[in-house]
């Protein structure tokens, strides 16, 4: 069952379609990575999801019900930018959270403050970007939510604290927390997320379980005797994402049937053929780089 469901979500600002017909289902208890380059529409999607922006069209539901004020008792949100009150101390932010959420756990909050070495007496205006991000993470995790929406939760953090945040996400997922995560650190998403969607220009260009995507996406590379070989229809093959021809080498990025395509290259006379696994970053880059459904690149 999906905890979070977005159906045909569209958000326009004037003539700009910031989010364009996005449909995403986040399975209960999963970590869902929402990836995309800057301006792809990730933050706007989050805002529509949480009612911070009104969708132009489409529907959002949590456990099948529309978002209501009471739903926020179960949700924690870490926004992309600091929204903390500059004039308040970290301790006052925690007190605000304690008074707002019945699920707030003071001991957990203290543990997290210690984890990120935050001083509860320090005012936000005196904090670095990383400390502000850390405090936002503390506020989110201290209520032990059922649903977390994390928009760049490691932004500005040092590698040690980035790892701490990642560990917290994985621990929360182990307890059954449903998490939607956006990050430019693809490696972190690969470690934490079991499902992803890639946004480009407000549209979902790729989505699915990380394992399935990695199992399907391959690079099939064939080396020919000369550079005069035919593409043999690969440019229009639905399984092929990208075609790169560099001299005698033909490199095909495929979304499925890598072995079958490798056999086809052998049949075309390739001297050697190899199939290379892709990591999530490669899959992401292929998804956002593609200028057309099949991108043919020729080099010398």
């Amino acid at each position: 069952m999906s905890t979070i469901s977005m159906a045909h979500l569209t958000k326009t600002y004037g003539s700009l379609r910031a989010v364009d017909d996005v449909s995403i289902d986040v399975p209960s208890g999963s970590v869902f990575g929402l990836l995309g380059p800057n301006g792809a529409g990730k933050t706007t999607t989050f805002k529509c999801l949480l009612g911070l922006a009104r969708p132009t069209s489409g529907r959002v539901s949590f456990d099948g019900a529309p978002l209501m004020a009471e739903t926020f008792e179960r949700i924690a949100y870490v926004p992309e930018r600091s929204v903390l009150y500059e004039w308040m101390t970290a301790g006052e932010h925690l007190e605000m959270q304690r008074r707002s959420f019945s699920r707030f756990k003071p001991l957990r909050a203290k543990e997290l403050m210690d984890l990120f070495s935050l001083d509860s007496r320090k005012r936000v205006r005196a904090m670095s970007k990383g400390m502000r991000t850390a405090l936002a993470v503390v506020l989110a995790f201290s209520i032990e939510p059922e649903i977390m929406v994390l928009d760049e939760p490691t932004s500005g953090l040092d590698p040690i604290n980035q790892r701490s945040v990642l560990r917290l996400i994985i621990q929360a997922a182990a307890r059954g927390t449903t998490t939607v995560l956006s990050s430019h650190q693809i490696g972190q998403v690969e470690r934490a997320a079991d499902h992803i969607a890639v946004l480009r220009d407000g549209r979902v260009t790729l989505s699915g379980a990380v394992d399935d995507l990695k199992a399907g996406h391959k690079i099939v590379e064939g080396i020919f005797e000369s550079d005069r070989f035919s593409l043999n229809g690969f440019a229009s093959d639905a399984r092929v994402v990208r075609v790169e021809k560099t001299g005698r080498i033909l490199r095909l990025t495929v979304r499925s049937d890598g072995d079958e395509i490798a056999r086809a290259l052998s049949g075309m006379g390739a001297l050697s053929v190899r199939v290379v696994d892709l990591n999530l970053e490669d899959i992401f880059l292929n998804a956002v780089d593609a200028g057309s459904p099949v991108d043919v690149v020729e080099g010398s």
């Binding site: 805002k47 926004p79 903390l84 007190e95």
Partner: protein, 346 residues
């Protein structure tokens, strides 16, 4: 309480108000200490009455007052003091220099009349306890209330300025969020006014113990005292609810609101079309301006004791309708703020 942030803002505003009141009280203390050097009529009477060489005769008069006659041959002074309750009249004759002068000085509830002739000074001091209508006390708290309202005005704009992601992801509806913030601020404005009244009473008792009396318009005056700053707060909140900054709104409001009435009056009799247009705009805006209702054609304080006031737009001439209009204006501004708050996006 899901409005901890507004609670902290209110606390900070009250701290500023406390500093302002503290400064005023400190000035009053300094003035009182300065005035002690010159002595007061009360201490003057005591000095004469308890002089070791004085011969004092006391008598009860038929109207219940007490007459004290002091003769001090050594100092060649003669005084007749008639006391009734806390009021008194003292008629004092004592030697003086060779100068000749006479005059009368009135200062609040004291009146001193002196005449010096042929080396003899004849002074009459009278004191009537200060009678202070309760409504005045509250109306004098208006400036403090307006200051607090200006500090706290536009709480929704303050959230719009980069905190909506925090404010709107709490398990509370937007309406409740807005109304509870406004409720906290309203309480803080009222508390600041009460603190202002306490401060004013402190300043007064340093000089004299005022007698607070209940006069017929007191209830309306008290209502006006609280509604005035609240209406101002509501206006600032209503105007700024869709904006991300409230400082500019407060600044411009203070620039225009107190002056719009003057503009309307100054342009009232012009025949020039552009001036008449300005007059029409200013007159229209004055209907929406709480400060215009708190202003008057004549000195506001002067008209208070008789329970009437003329409003800035010249339509309402008594306190009752002014209070009613301010109440309705407040509700309209708050409703406008809540409607905008529902529609704002992060």
């Amino acid at each position: 309480m899901d409005q901890y942030v507004e609670f902290l803002r209110a606390k900070r505003a009250l701290f500023i108000i406390a500093i302002v009141i503290g400064v005023i009280v400190a000035i009053a203390v300094a003035m009182r200490l300065y005035s002690l050097n010159g002595g007061t009529p009360g201490s003057w009477i005591d000095r004469i009455q308890y002089s070791p060489t004085a011969h004092v005769t006391k008598a009860q008069l038929p109207d219940g007052s007490e007459r004290v006659v002091v003769d001090d041959p050594a100092k060649r002074t003669h005084a007749v003091i008639v006391r009734k309750g806390r009021s008194f009249v003292m008629d004092l004759t004592e030697p003086s220099g060779a100068r000749t002068e006479h005059g009368t000085v009135s200062m609040g509830n004291f009146s001193v009349s002196s005449r010096v002739k042929n080396g003899v000074s004849h002074t009459v001091v009278s004191y009537q306890p200060l009678s202070f209508p309760l409504g005045w006390l509250f109306l004098f708290s208006l400036p403090i209330g307006l200051l607090a309202a200006s500090l706290l005005g536009g709480p929704l704009a303050k959230e719009n300025g980069g905190h909506l992601e925090l404010a709107w992801t709490k398990p509370v509806s937007r309406d409740r969020y807005a109304l509870s913030a406004i409720g906290i601020d309203s309480a803080a404005i009222a508390i600041s006014q009460l603190a202002g009244i306490v401060g004013m009473l402190l300043c007064m008792v340093m000089f004299t113990v005022p007698k607070v009396v209940l006069t017929p318009p007191s209830g309306l005056q008290i209502l006006l005292a609280f509604l005035g700053p609240f209406a101002w707060y509501a206006m600032l909140t209503g105007i700024s609810a869709s904006l991300r900054r409230v400082g500019l709104v407060v600044g411009l409001s203070w620039l225009f609101a107190p002056n719009i009435l003057g503009v309307a009056q100054a342009t009232a009799h012009s025949e020039l079309a552009p001036i008449r247009l300005i007059h029409a705009i200013a007159q229209g805006v004055a209907y929406l301006d709480p400060i215009a209702y708190l202003s008057a054609h004549t000195n506001f304080i002067d008209v208070m004791p008789v329970g009437t006031s003329s409003s800035g737009n010249g339509v309402f001439t008594s306190l009752g309708p002014i209070v009613g209009v301010l109440f309705v204006l407040s509700l309209l501004y708050i409703a406008a703020a809540v409607v905008q708050w529902r529609r704002v996006e992060a």
